[in-house]
Amino acid sequence: MEERFLTSLDIMWKGMLSIFCVIIIITLLVMLFQWAEKKITTFIENKRQKKTE
């Protein structure tokens, strides 16, 4: 019983860590993509504005 309980605690920290790892990677990727998209859009708009000037 004690061994099984210790295993369940092992599952607890490894499980929570794995979920957070995946979720944090996804969060960072989404933020990075949004940042890059914003930069690219601004860059293109600036370029277009310069051309028209």
Partner: protein
């Protein structure tokens, strides 16, 4: 006259109890509106499979031999052999989810992860109550607040309690509006519940909405390969929705597929509600542990929000953490209702929906990760 009475004379007391359970589930579905699409077929199925010599399960008839029953066949081929029914349902669920509110505020993703704490807490609690590790993990996954995930994980882990687990998962999902407010109020102060959060959504491009399901599948696959069937089918459904060129398939997944599979899943799962498997004191323990899982999911999410607030200038209302469970959209509505109750001008719905959608991703991830960890440990 024996041939007329053979059925009624062979009814056992556990079978009579199961008729009461079946009628109770049908009552809850019809009168109370608790998850009727699942509880009603399960309730009717519970009566069907517990009739003496029921034709819906395999029987050995004198002079004829083996006969096959439709519900047992559906269970063996649709759930036991391939886990096809719960997985197919994920395509429909994925097609129904709009990740827009989450992508416009990606920090909400973290609350989905935190609100899975109840799953792991319950696994330990179940072990302490004497359940084996695979059974404890199957019971813990009730905390995913996601019926198909619970059914799938308990089936893959060959749990003996798939029936009570399915009943507990769907019942507590329906009871979220009753369970969550009590848990939230127990771990928050009035001052915390009054915290306001301005909503400044960032516009989400179509490109991001298409890339998101693909990226999530790949990342989840690398970290927890066992989660790929769950996450993959969920994200495949979402890709159908977001790609913009498969409107009819997306519509079919959201309506025809989801309805058909839900209908079959409910009546199929009733195979595991045969009296000999269901009427045990373990069923009561599982119902109790299911409640523990939902409460600690809520507490985990709220406490994580409080923890994050230690480092933030713009505080997050801790109730948002409670919306990180997968019960969509009930959980987000509960948070919104509680916020309005404290201050009628404090609207948290959009934040809560973001966290709630994140819970749907995190719950399937949790299912896959548990399978991954258990297969590694039990090797």
């Amino acid at each position: 006259m024996d041939f007329l009475l053979s059925g009624i004379t062979s009814v056992t007391i556990p079978q009579l109890l199961m008729y009461c359970v079946g009628i109770l589930l049908i009552y809850l579905a019809i009168a109370k509106g608790y998850e009727p699409s699942l509880l009603l077929p399960m309730g009717f199925g519970a009566i069907l499979v517990n009739l003496p010599l029921s034709g819906v399960i395999d029987q050995v008839l004198p002079g004829i031999g083996n006969t096959h029953g439709i519900i047992q066949w559906l269970f063996e081929s649709g759930i036991e052999a391939s886990e096809a029914l719960p997985l197919l349902l994920f395509i429909g669920i994925g097609a129904m989810i709009d990740f827009g509110p989450l992508l416009s505020n990606p920090i909400m993703l973290l609350f989905g992860a935190a609100a899975q704490f109840g799953i792991f807490f319950t696994i330990s609690a179940a072990v302490l109550m004497g359940f084996s590790l695979p059974d404890a993990a199957s019971v813990g996954i009730i905390g995913a607040a996601d019926g198909p995930t619970s059914i799938l994980v308990s089936q893959i882990l060959k749990s003996n309690y798939i029936g009570p687990i399915a009943v507990a998962a769907y019942s507590y999902m329906a009871l979220v509006p009753l369970v969550q407010p009590i848990a939230i109020k127990a771990v928050t102060t009035k001052k915390e519940r009054l915290i306001r959060m301005p909503y400044n959504p960032v516009s989400v491009s179509k490109r991001l909405k298409i890339i998101f399901p693909i990226a999530v599948t790949i990342i989840a696959g690398f970290v927890a390969p066992q989660s790929v069937s769950l996450v993959g089918f969920l994200m495949f459904g979402n890709l159908l929705r977001e790609c913009g060129v498969l409107a009819t398939l997306s519509d079919a997944a959201q309506n025809i597929l989801a309805n058909l599979v839900t209908l079959l899943l409910g009546i199929t799962i009733s195979f595991s509600m045969r009296a000999e498997a269901f009427v045990t004191w373990h069923t009561l323990l599982i119902l109790l542990l299911g409640l523990v899982a939902f409460v600690f999911d809520t507490v985990g999410g709220v406490m994580f929000a409080k923890f994050i607030n230690l480092f933030r200038k713009n505080k997050i209302n801790p109730m948002i953490g409670a919306a990180g469970i997968s019960a969509f959209p009930m959980s987000a509505r509960v948070v919104q209702k509680l916020a309005i109750k404290e201050d009628p001008t404090n609207h948290l719905l959009m934040h809560a929906i973001g966290a709630n959608v994140s819970g749907q991703i995190a719950s399937v991830l949790a299912g896959g990760i548990i399978l991954n960890l258990l297969t590694t440990i039990l090797k």
